[in-house]
C-alpha cells in the first residue's frame, strides 16, 4: 500500500483527492493523509516518519512554504527510505522548477493537476 501525504492550504483539496482516488482507496492500493500547512506536515512526519512513501506538496502556502518544507524533509527525514516528494504549484515557471529539483524534489507538477497523469505516476511508484 502506497501511503501518500498531501500538503495544501486549500481545505477542498482533501475532498478532491479522496474522490479522485476513491477506487484506489477502496481497493486499499493508496492511503491518503492530509496536512494544511508545512508545519502540520512536519509534525505529521515526525510521528509517521518511515510510513510515508510519497509527499505531494503545494509550494505557495501561507507560513512555511513548500520549498522550506522540502528542505526540512531532506534535512530531517533523510534516513532511508526517504520519501518521494512531488512539488505542485500554480506558478509553473522554470525558476521554481529548478529550485524544487535543486532542493531534492523528485518531481514538479503544475496546477491544474492532470489527475490521469498523476494516477499513472503513482501506479508506477506502487
Amino acid at each position: 500500500m502506497l501511503k501518500i501525504l498531501v500538503v495544501d492550504d486549500e481545505p477542498d483539496v482533501k475532498d478532491l483527492f479522496l474522490q479522485r482516488f476513491r477506487r484506489e482507496i477502496r481497493n486499499a492500493e493508496f492511503l491518503l493523509d492530509f496536512a494544511k500547512s508545512g508545519e502540520e506536515a512536519l509534525s505529521y512526519l515526525s510521528d509517521h516518519s518511515s510510513e510515508v512513501v510519497l509527499i505531494l506538496s503545494d509550494i505557495n502556502m501561507p507560513g512555511m512554504s513548500g520549498f522550506e518544507l522540502l528542505r526540512h524533509i531532506r534535512e530531517d527525514f533523510n534516513i532511508p527510505p526517504s520519501p518521494v516528494v512531488m512539488m505542485i504549484t500554480a506558478y509553473g515557471d522554470p525558476g521554481s522548477q529548478e529550485q524544487a529539483l535543486q532542493l531534492g524534489a523528485n518531481d514538479f507538477l503544475t496546477k491544474p493537476l492532470d489527475f490521469a497523469f498523476l494516477k499513472q505516476k503513482l501506479h508506477d511508484l506502487a
Binding site: 478532491l16 474522490q19 479522485r20 505557495n60 501561507p62 507560513g63 512555511m64 520549498f67 496546477k111
Partner: protein, 455 residues
Amino acid sequence: MNWSDGSSYIAIGIAIAVINYIRKFLDTPKQLPAWDVYLSKVWVLGLVLMTIGEVLPKPWLTWFWLIIFGAVAYTVRQLYHIRPARTLLLAIAPYTILVVIRDVLRFISPDFYKSTKVYFEAGSTFSFFWLITFMLIANNQKKAFAKVQQEREEEAEQRRIIEGKKNELEYLVAERTAEITRQKEELEQTLTELKATQNQLIHSEKMASLGELTAGIAHEIQNPLNFVNNFSEVSIELIDELSEEQTKADRDTELEAELLTDLKQNLQKISHHGGRAASIVKGMLQHSRSNTGQREPTDINALCDEYLRLAYHGLRAKDKTFNATFQTDFDTSLGKISVVPQELGRVLLNLFTNAFYAVQQRQKQGVSGYQPTVSASTRCIDSQVVITVADNGTGIPEAVKQKIFQPFFTTKPTGEGTGLGLSMAYDIVTKGHNGTLAVESKEGEGTKFILTIPA
C-alpha cells in the same frame, strides 16, 4: 463840420482814439468780430459829415459825436454782460450828452448859450473828471474781470489736467484689470488642466494597482476554477459509477447512497468555488471602475480578507520566492458598515501591498530566522471601526514618516511607484469617510497603519 474847420479834424482824431481805445478795452475784434469791422471804420462817417458840412451849416459835429456815442452804446449793449463795458458807458455818457446838449444849444440859441456857458464849462469839467474816474474804475474792473477770468481759466486748466490724470488712471486701471482678468483666465485654464491631469493620475494609479493585482487575481481565479473543473470531472466519474452500480443484480445501496451524498457535496463545492471566482471578478471590476462614490453596507471583514489575499498573490506573482504568513483577527460582531467599498478596497489594497513590500524588503536582507508576517485586524471601539494593518517589515525612518502621505512621495525606485497610493488612501479615509489614518512605525521592527472610520 467842414474841411476848413480844424476842430473837425481834432474831433475825428479824438473819435479814432476813443474807438480804438474802446475796441482794445472791450476786445471787440475777438468778442464781436462781425460788428468790429464797422466799429473800426465808424470815424469815416466824420469825413462824410465834413463833406455835407461844406454845403450845409452846423451842427454836424454834434451828429458826429452822436454817431460815435451811438456806436459805443451799441457795442456796450452787445457786451452788456461784461461789467467794465457798462461802467465804460456810464463813464462817457454824461460828458457826451453834455457836449451834445451844449452844441445843440449853441446852435439853436447862441444867446442863451452865452448866458449859461459858465455852467456848461463847469459841467463839462465835472463830467470830464467823471469820465476819467469811471474809466479808471472800468479799467480796474476789467483788470479784476481779467483776473477772475484768468483764475477761471487756471481752474479750468487745473480741471483739464485732473481730468487728463483721471483718464490716464482709468486707462491704467482698465489695462491692469484686463491684465488681471487675463491672468485669472489663464489660472482657471491651468486649474482645469491640472484637474484633468489629476483625474488622469488617479486613473493611472488605479490602473497601476490593477496591474499589480492582475497576477494575484489570475491566481485567485485559477484556484476556484480548478476546483470547479475537478469536482465536475469527479462528479461525472461518480455518476458513471452510480449507473454502473444500478445495472448490477445485487446493488450495493449503501455505496449508492454514499455516491449520491458525494455528488451533492461536489455540486455544492462547484457552486461555492464558482461563486468565489465570480466575487473576485466583481471585485476587480469594482476596483477599475470609476468611482460612483456610493456608500453601501459593506462587510469590512470580507473586504479586508479579499484584498489581503489579492495583495499577497499580486506580490507573489512578481516574486516567486516570496512567502509570507498572514494573520487575520476579525471582529465578527462588526456587522455591515456604510462605506464606499471600492474606495475603501483601494485603501486596504494599498496598505496590504505596502506591508507585503516591507516584509519582502526585510526578507531580502537575509536575516536568518526571519518570518515575514502581515496581519490585519478589525475592531469596533466607541462606535468606530478600527482596521489595523501591521507588518514586521523594514519599518519607516522618522524623516520619511513625515512625508508618506504627500502626493508623489515614494521610496520605491523610479517607475515602480506612482507616489500616489498613500496620499489617495489618506484622502479617501479622511475626506471620503470622515475617518483617520495614522501610522506607527519603528525602523527595523515593523509598521502599523491604523484606520478609523465612524460606524
